[in-house]
C-alpha cells in the first residue's frame, strides 16, 4: 500500500484502487493504488512507457479504466451514471503539448468553457480569466493567438485555462517536456506558486529537482505498477527498490551509461 502516515489522517481527494488499464491485449496498468489528500503535491516519475500518462488520464477518464476504481472528490469516476462532463470541470488538466485552442484568442481559450460549460456570465468569466492570466504572468497576452506565443507562454496560458474552471485538483502530464530549456523555469515557477497556494496537484515529470523541492510525495512507476512511493527525500534521495535506483541513476547521471 502506498498510503503514507500523513495521508491516512485525512480522507483522500483522489483515491485510486486496483486500477487496471489495457489497450487491447496490452496491459499497461496492472494494479495501481494511490491516495492523494487535499493540498498535496504528488510527483509521478518513471521510465518511458511505464504507464504514467495512462494513469493520469484515467483519473479524469480521458482513458477509460478496464478495472478498479477511481474516486475524485467523492465522485466515482468509473460509475456509468456519473455526469462525466460535470466531474471533469472539477479536475484541471495540463498537457505536454499545451493543446490551446488554436483558432481562439487567449481570452477565448480561458473563457469558452467557463461560459459554455459552467454557464458563467461573460463578465464573470472575463474577470476570472484576467485573474488567472495575471497569476501566470501573462496579462499582456490576453488578446494574443496561441500561435504567436512561445512554448513556455502557451503552457502558462494552458495552466491559466485549467485554473479558470476553479478545479479541486490539477493534473500535469510532463508540462515542461516539450519546452525550450530557457522557458522551463517560468512554467515550473508557476507550478511552485500553485503548490504553495495549496492546490492539490498530481504531476508526471522528469524534472527531479522540481520533484525534490516541491513534491510532498514522489511515486515511482515502472511496468504498470507503483514500485515505490513516499516523501521526495526518501524516494529520490534514498530509494529502497533496485528498479528505482537504476532509474534514478540513469536520469540523475545521464553521462554514466551502461
Amino acid at each position: 500500500m502506498t498510503t503514507t502516515s500523513h495521508a491516512s489522517t485525512k480522507t483522500p481527494i483522489i483515491a485510486i484502487r486496483n486500477l487496471q488499464k489495457s489497450f487491447g491485449t496490452n496491459q499497461v496498468l496492472t494494479d495501481i493504488n494511490l491516495d492523494v489528500v487535499k493540498g498535496e503535491v504528488v510527483c509521478v516519475i518513471g521510465p518511458s512507457g511505464s504507464g504514467k500518462s495512462t494513469m493520469l488520464r484515467c483519473i479524469n477518464t480521458l482513458e477509460t479504466p478496464t478495472g478498479g476504481s477511481i474516486v475524485v472528490d467523492g465522485m466515482d469516476m468509473t460509475d456509468l451514471d456519473l455526469d462525466i462532463d460535470a466531474a471533469r470541470t472539477r479536475i484541471g488538466m495540463v498537457f505536454q503539448s499545451f493543446n490551446l485552442f488554436a483558432h481562439l484568442t487567449v481570452r477565448e481559450n480561458l473563457t469558452i468553457a467557463q461560459t459554455k460549460v459552467l454557464r458563467r456570465s461573460k463578465a464573470e468569466a472575463n474577470k476570472v480569466a484576467e485573474a488567472n492570466l495575471a497569476k501566470v504572468g501573462l496579462s499582456e497576452k490576453m488578446e494574443a493567438k496561441p500561435g504567436s506565443l512561445s512554448g513556455g507562454q502557451q503552457q502558462r496560458v494552458a495552466i491559466a485555462r485549467a485554473l479558470s474552471m476553479d478545479p479541486d485538483v490539477m493534473l500535469f502530464d510532463e508540462p515542461t517536456s516539450a519546452l525550450d530549456p530557457e522557458t522551463v523555469g517560468d512554467v515550473l515557477q508557476v507550478m511552485r506558486n500553485l503548490a504553495e497556494a495549496g492546490m492539490t496537484m498530481v504531476v508526471v515529470t522528469h524534472e527531479m529537482e522540481f520533484a525534490r523541492q516541491v513534491a510532498d510525495r514522489v511515486v515511482f512507476m515502472d511496468g504498470g505498477v507503483v514500485v515505490e512511493a513516499g516523501p521526495a527525500k526518501d524516494v529520490i534521495g534514498n530509494p529502497q527498490e533496485q528498479r528505482t535506483k537504476d532509474f534514478l541513476s540513469r536520469v540523475l547521471h545521464p553521462g554514466q551509461l551502461g
Binding site: T89, S97, F101, H103, A113, V117, G147
Partner: protein, 291 residues
C-alpha cells in the same frame, strides 16, 4: 541537345554564379533544358493556332456559333431565368449536400461500428454513381416505384444534387476533422465539454481551413452537374442554362446559344475558382504558426 546546353552552361556559370560547384551547374543545365522544351511547346501551340485559323471555315463558323442577333435575342431570359435557376439549383443542392455530408462524416468517425459502416456504404454508393443516374432514378424511377412520390421539380433537383455532392463532401469534412490534432478534443473534454460541443466549437472551426477550398471546388462541379436538371423536362420558367440552351438551339436551328450558355457557366465558375484559390492561399499559409 547536349551541345547547346554545354555552351549555355559555360556562359551562365561564369559571372552569374561565382561560388558555383558541380550541383548548381547541373541545376542550370536542367533549367536550360526546361526553357528549351517550353520554347518547343509554344512553337507547337502557335502552329496549331495558325493551322486552325487558316483551315477553319470562318464564315460557316460564325454563321453557326456567332450570330449576334440570336445571342442578343436570348437576353434577358438567359440571365433573369436560366442563370438564376442554375444558381438556385446549385445552392439548394449544395446546402442539402452539406447537411447530409456533415451527418455522414460524423457517422463515419463515430465510435459506433454500425454508423461507421452505414456511412462508408453511403459514401461508396453515391461516389460511384454518375449524377445522371441519380437524376434518372429520382425523376423517373421513384414515381414508378412509389406512386405517391411526385415531389415538385425543384425538390427533386435539390435532392439529386444534394445526394450527388454529399458523398464527396462527407469525405472532405472527415479529412478536415481528422487533421485537427487529437489534443484539441482532449483539452476540450478535460474542461468538461461534451463530445458534440467539442466537435462544434473546437474541432469543426479548425477543420474549416482544410475543408473550405475543396468545398468551393465541389460547388463548381455542382454548378455544372445542375445542367442535368434538363432531363427532368422542367417547365418553361424552371429552365436553367443547359435547358434554355437546348430549347434555343431547337428554336433557332443555330448553335450560337451554346456559346452564350458556356459564357454564363463561366460567369458562375470563374469567381468560385478564384475564391477557392484565395481560401487555399489564406489558410495554407496561416497554418504555419499554429499547431
Amino acid at each position: 541537345m547536349s551541345v547547346p546546353t554545354a555552351s549555355e552552361d559555360g556562359r551562365q556559370t561564369g559571372p552569374a554564379v561565382p561560388a558555383a560547384t558541380a550541383t548548381p551547374k547541373a541545376k542550370m543545365s536542367k533549367r536550360q533544358k526546361a526553357k528549351l522544351s517550353r520554347g518547343i511547346q509554344y512553337a507547337i501551340l502557335v502552329v496549331i493556332a495558325v493551322l486552325v485559323a487558316v483551315f477553319a471555315d470562318w464564315p460557316t463558323l460564325i454563321d453557326s456559333f456567332g450570330r449576334i442577333d440570336i445571342a442578343t435575342g436570348m437576353f434577358p431570359d438567359v440571365i433573369t431565368m436560366a442563370l438564376k435557376n442554375t444558381v438556385v439549383y446549385t445552392f439548394l443542392g449544395f446546402a442539402l449536400g452539406l447537411v447530409i455530408a456533415l451527418f455522414v462524416a460524423l457517422m463515419r468517425l463515430s465510435s459506433v461500428g454500425v454508423y461507421r459502416w452505414l456511412a462508408t456504404i453511403y459514401i461508396e454508393f453515391f461516389r460511384g454513381l454518375p449524377a445522371l443516374v441519380v437524376f434518372l432514378v429520382l425523376g423517373f424511377g421513384m414515381p414508378v416505384a412509389f406512386p405517391g412520390f411526385n415531389l415538385p421539380q425543384l425538390i427533386i433537383i435539390m435532392i439529386a444534387l444534394g445526394l450527388v455532392s454529399s458523398a464527396y463532401m462527407a469525405e472532405t469534412i472527415r479529412a478536415g476533422i481528422q487533421a485537427v490534432p487529437k489534443g484539441q478534443i482532449e483539452a476540450a473534454r478535460s474542461l468538461g465539454m461534451s463530445s458534440s460541443r467539442a466537435m462544434f466549437t473546437i474541432v469543426l472551426p479548425q477543420a474549416m481551413r482544410i475543408i473550405l477550398p475543396p468545398l468551393t471546388n465541389e460547388l463548381i462541379l455542382l454548378a455544372k452537374d445542375s445542367s442535368l436538371a434538363y432531363i427532368l423536362g422542367s417547365s418553361v420558367d424552371g429552365r436553367e442554362l443547359a435547358a434554355l440552351g437546348r430549347a434555343e438551339i431547337v428554336n433557332t436551328a443555330n448553335l450560337t446559344p451554346f456559346i452564350v450558355i458556356a459564357l454564363c457557366y463561366l460567369i458562375i465558375t470563374i469567381p468560385l475558382s478564384y475564391l477557392s484559390r484565395v481560401l487555399e492561399r489564406k489558410y495554407g499559409s496561416a497554418d504555419s504558426g499554429v499547431k
